[in-house]
Amino acid sequence: MKTKRQIQKEATRKLILDTAYRVYAEEGFSATTNQIAKAANVSHGTIFVHFPTVENLLICLLERFGSEINKHLHLLSEKDESLETFLAAHIDVLIRYEDFYKKLISDINSLPQDAKFVFINIQSVVSLHLSQVIEREKEKKEIKEIPMHIIFNSWLGLIHYYLTNSYLFSAESVLTEHKDELILNYIKLLENERN
């Protein structure tokens, strides 16, 4: 059984991660640990009791975020899901974390190398599901002969473009507003015209 102290420790750790998530989602990844401590209502030193470095805090946060995405995508994915269902599931997951994800893709180039690796691995989960769906789809429909990485990168490129330039497309949630349009037309780009 966990001692009272362990429970308390885990709760504080979770509070710091939850708060860091919120602060980064609002301020971007240049936000400082001071800001996070203040928002979490803990002393600055408390953060470093739980996370030895800022980088470590960031990695833990991204890993937690990645495993959330992983879980959601997996739960949403069914054995016989269509391309459309999968793309909708991907967008739905991102909508839940839209502000955070938007900041993440805008700031990724300035993040430490290890954070970039976590980011790559978050995308690997998406590319795994997508490539499985595409393989299945090829049995049913005519999908153009395009290398898998171009299929994946085009999808990611499309939604990342809408996200990072959301001011062009929406005052609210750009993914919510453009979800159907993006999915429908992306699929059109992949499918061969039927005669």
């Binding site: 690997s124 590319s127 990485h149």
Partner: protein, 80 residues
């Protein structure tokens, strides 16, 4: 929910598990044909090929990303 010790994939349905056996700690993608778990080198190679094929990454980058991911997984703790 269990997650695969060798690749981190969540395992929910029977079909997610190696040989459909829910007592297994690794998933269908990490199993060899005879049902045993892939070796470190086999898994690394397959993750590497997969990452390059589906994301188009530079080989050196992909290699580091894969190692970084495997380092976190219980099955490969002894390899780093």
């Amino acid at each position: 929910m269990k997650t695969c010790i060798a690749c981190g994939m969540p395992m929910k349905k029977e079909s997610d598990f190696a040989m459909g056996d829910t007592s297994k700690e690794y998933c269908i993608y990490c199993a060899k044909e005879d049902g045993s778990m892939q070796s470190f080198e086999e898994k690394k190679q397959s993750l590497l090929n997969f990452t390059i094929k589906t994301q188009g990454l530079d080989k050196a980058i992909a290699e580091k990303a894969v190692e970084n991911m495997m380092r976190q997984l219980p099955a490969w703790k002894g390899f780093f």
